[in-house]
């Protein structure tokens, strides 16, 4: 197998991966960076993020407020040292992006504008119309083009990490257009491959969000943390699951049930605020977990609309006016018309909560380090934990930037200080293992299972057993199904035997990753006998700070289900309190 030697290998070229790469190239142009991605950088799912990126810059705001909003929003599962560092660095990173050309929306006087967002007391979300993620991604990608020390490996599918002498020393990836495997030997590896929302049937996630990096680290012995915390975004289009940004509600959009009633006030987020004048941190600007949970309750009560694609409620923006919508929410309008046949200027848009983000991921600390020396992780693939049990909208785009830079700084230090001895024999052995894995998968015949079939069963089981509300029974059932599916995975036969861009193979590898991670979600949820943030148990409705103010760690056990353990949460300034999103809250 051919080997490519580099200093820092970054897997994933979305916002997090690109930021890391630029940070290395800018500050240490003598180091070689290999930026490896299974898609061209512009296709990364960062492009689909709409609303914005949070950072304190306005005079009526403070770092403390951002800190408190985030820790409370995360139901006190966030590591507070991480949150403190994050809110501090956020404004600088967003300004850096602006200097790199990001077309942030502006106030009349030319300074950067901010919009209200869910769960935040003061508006601090920088935005670029309603295509913030798209503009951030393209700004970073285009900026990266000026650094010759970043070598991109576009459309290389990373398969497994190379770990020798207790250190991560690289990654094996397949050149998708030829099927050739390459051994990337690196002194540090940064994973930035995004989340794994595709394990659920309806999500805002693109096809590529299959948790490849998280699964690679998991298989290499790094625990997957807090995987049971899956965020449902309250407003996704029916049938496709396409995202309608939280910015819709930030601009004044409201949620109505089948009777036209703004039902959120019945769930501790009242009193009802005047139409078109949203009040921060209450009603439609409450946190995402509460809003999605309110939908579920409305559904049980029969207050939702029945459609052929399931139950729904209305996102009403008709009172905002055409001019305002065209200026602030043009993509939302286009999406509603194209994919739902509804013009939000004229009619309320039917929506439902859809899986959007995974708070959980690879166990990392404030330095983006994983427990495995030489391995770092940034963005949705990681769990630092910034977002705790529930992420506030617009924190994740900023997270990519802050921790992308942080990972770079630490990876550079690691590269400079570690010795460059590579255990060539061990590397060769591991690389061969990957080769055999692929060969087995491609040459297998007589299989009776289909990729689409197993994928569907996995997704259906997760949605019914590990959805917005969970119980012991539903979770046990899902765990059983997933364990069974992992066995049946061996029965998949690839009909495409080509070496050239074999998407049958890629989908099989992705499904394998999803199945492994799905188990961490279900088993983690089963073990966590409390309700916190986005993890809600009908059989354990209260938050249990005594037993469960802790991070779930899921350890890979091969063919068996993961071993679950726990890890302390770092609490500094904010002791666990009550999440109050009613209008009277301070």
């Amino acid at each position: 197998m051919e080997s490519i030697k580099t200093d820092i290998a970054i897997v994933g070229a979305g916002g997090a991966g690109l930021r890391t790469a630029i940070a290395v190239a800018e500050s240490n142009p003598d180091l070689k960076v290999a930026l490896i991605s299974k898609v061209y950088p512009m296709r990364s799912h960062t492009c689909a993020a709409e609303g914005g990126a949070a950072g304190v810059i306005k005079p009526d705001d403070s770092l403390d407020l951002h800190f408190n909003d985030t820790v409370g929003g995360g139901d006190w599962l966030s590591d507070q040292d991480v949150v403190e560092f994050f809110v501090n660095e956020a404004p600088k990173e967003l300004l850096q992006l602006e200097h790199w050309g990001c077309p942030w929306s502006r106030e009349p006087n030319g300074s950067v504008a901010v919009r209200p967002f869910g769960g935040m007391k003061i508006k601090r979300t920088w935005f670029a119309a309603d295509k913030s993620g798209f503009h951030i991604l393209h700004t970073l990608f285009q900026t990266s083009l000026q650094f010759p020390t970043i070598t991109r490996f576009d459309e290389f599918f990373s398969i497994d990490l190379l770990v020798t002498d207790g250190r991560c020393q690289g990654v094996v990836a397949m050149e998708m257009k030829s099927g050739r495997l390459f051994q990337f030997q690196a002194k540090a590896v940064v994973l930035a491959t995004g989340g794994a929302g595709r394990m659920f049937p309806f999500s805002t996630n693109g096809a590529i969000k299959t948790g490849d990096g998280t699964a690679m680290a998991y298989r290499a012995g790094v625990p997957a943390k807090d995987m049971e915390f899956v965020q449902y975004h309250p407003t996704g289009l029916l049938s496709t699951g396409i995202l309608l940004t939280e910015g819709c509600r930030g601009e004044g959009g409201v949620l109505r049930n089948k009777d036209g009633y703004r039902y959120l006030q019945d769930y501790g987020m009242g009193p009802e605020t005047p139409l078109g004048k949203p009040v921060l941190k209450t009603m439609e600007l409450g946190p995402r977990d509460r809003l999605s949970q309110a939908f579920w309750h409305e559904m049980q009560k029969g207050n939702t609309i029945s459609t052929q694609w399931g139950d729904a409620v209305y996102l009403d923006m008709t009172h905002l006016g055409e001019k305002h919508i065209n200026e602030r929410l043009p993509l939302v309008r286009d999406l509603s018309i194209t994919y739902a046949g509804v013009d939000p200027v004229k009619e309320p848009v039917p929506i439902r909560p859809v899986v959007h983000y995974m708070m959980g991921g690879i166990h990392t600390n404030i330095d983006a380090e994983t427990p495995l020396p030489g391995l770092y992780a940034v963005g949705e693939t990681a769990c630092a934990s910034l977002n705790g049990a529930n992420r506030l909208g617009s924190n994740s785009l900023t997270e990519l930037l802050v921790f992308g830079k942080r990972a770079a700084v630490n990876a550079i230090e690691h590269v400079r200080s570690s010795d460059s001895k590579l255990n060539e024999t061990s590397l060769k052995e591991q690389a061969e293992k990957v080769q055999n894995k692929i060969r087995d998968l491609v040459s297998r015949s007589g299989g009776t299972e289909s990729i689409a079939g197993i994928r569907k069963e996995m997704a259906t089981s997760l949605e019914s057993g590990a959805g917005i509300y969970r119980t012991e029974e539903t979770l046990q059932e899902t765990c059983k199904v997933l364990a069974d599916l992992r066995t049946r995975y061996a029965g998949i036969e690839l009909h495409d035997k080509s070496n050239v861009f074999n998407t049958d193979l890629f989908q099989a590898l992705e499904l394998g990753n999803l199945l492994e991670l799905a188990q961490t979600v279900a088993e983690g949820a089963l073990a966590r006998k409390e309700s916190r943030g986005s993890h809600q148990r009908l059989d354990y409705e209260a938050r249990d700070d005594e037993k469960f103010l802790a991070h779930t760690l899921a350890y890979y056990q091969g063919d068996d289900k993961p071993r679950i353990d726990y890890h302390d949460v770092i609490i500094t300034k904010s002791k666990p309190g009550v999440r109050d999103y009613s209008g009277g809250a301070k």
Partner: protein, 247 residues
């Protein structure tokens, strides 16, 4: 919900098996609200898992799924099956690019050209981050905003007859992106990009057929950017002639 019958003729090509591309037919019972991409996904999932194509976001923002649908370059995720009900639809890889495999084209040429036009902020002096943002009024933002919307889907390259006949042409999307930066009030790189834009394979290969703008699914209007570039490039040429070209 009503069902729509779609007859897809998909162009297949596996360099390990085929000397030439060939069509393969699939009949799909579609739901009324499906896009062509949903129909293709259905074929891959349930009928023929060997079809290769690129897709991801299914919301017309990642640019992966550009392909020729009935001879026109489109995003498969934004082409309603309703438009092709009860007829045969040819599905082919984007025109004017070499075929890697099935509906996957080789995009290397575009990636190189994108880099060539220097699509990033170029300044003589950087303002320190501590001093805050470069002020940019809503009007200054609006000036270049439209050209920031390009998702690099390459439909414009597939539509452009110049690119078809003169492959050295840098092309609509790359040049429009250069113009986006030229128009950004924070940028000072016009003179540097001029060296690339003013070449024969730069903006001067464009004969303004406007087919790029007609094909663009995001209404970027690259043709407009290119005509503006022609004027700007000519002006810059004269300026440099009399020694007032800037850097």
């Amino acid at each position: 919900m009503n069902e729509i019958k779609l007859e897809l003729d998909i162009l297949r090509y596996d360099p390990e098996k085929d000397r030439e591309p060939h069509f393969q037919s699939y009949s799909v019972a579609c739901q009324e609200d499906w896009m062509v991409l949903d129909a293709i996904n259905h074929v891959k999932d349930h009928v023929d898992t060997t079809i290769s194509y690129r897709w991801s976001c299914h919301m017309a923002v990642c640019g992966s799924c550009g392909m020729m649908i009935d001879g026109k370059p489109k995003l498969a995720c934004k082409a309603p099956v309703k438009d092709y009900a009860n007829q045969k639809v040819r599905v082919e890889p984007l025109a004017n690019f070499p075929i890697e495999r099935d509906l996957v084209v080789v995009q290397d040429d575009f990636m190189e050209k994108l880099k060539r036009v220097k699509p990033y902020i170029i300044r003589k002096e950087e303002k320190p981050i501590e001093e805050g943002e470069y002020k940019q009024t809503p009007a200054e933002l609006k000036k270049y905003k439209q050209f920031t919307l390009c998702i690099n889907c390459l439909c414009c390259y597939a539509a452009c007859p110049e690119y078809a006949l003169t492959p050295e042409f840098i092309g609509p999307a790359a040049l429009a992106l250069a113009h986006r930066y030229n128009q950004d009030s924070r940028d000072q790189g016009l003179a540097e990009r001029h060296k690339v834009i003013s070449t024969p394979e730069g903006v001067w290969d464009c004969s303004f057929t406007d087919t790029c703008s007609l094909a663009c699914p995001k209404h970027v209007d690259p043709a407009s950017a290119l005509q503006q570039l022609k004027i700007a490039t000519t002006t810059q040429w004269y300026k440099e002639l009399i020694g007032m070209g800037g850097n």
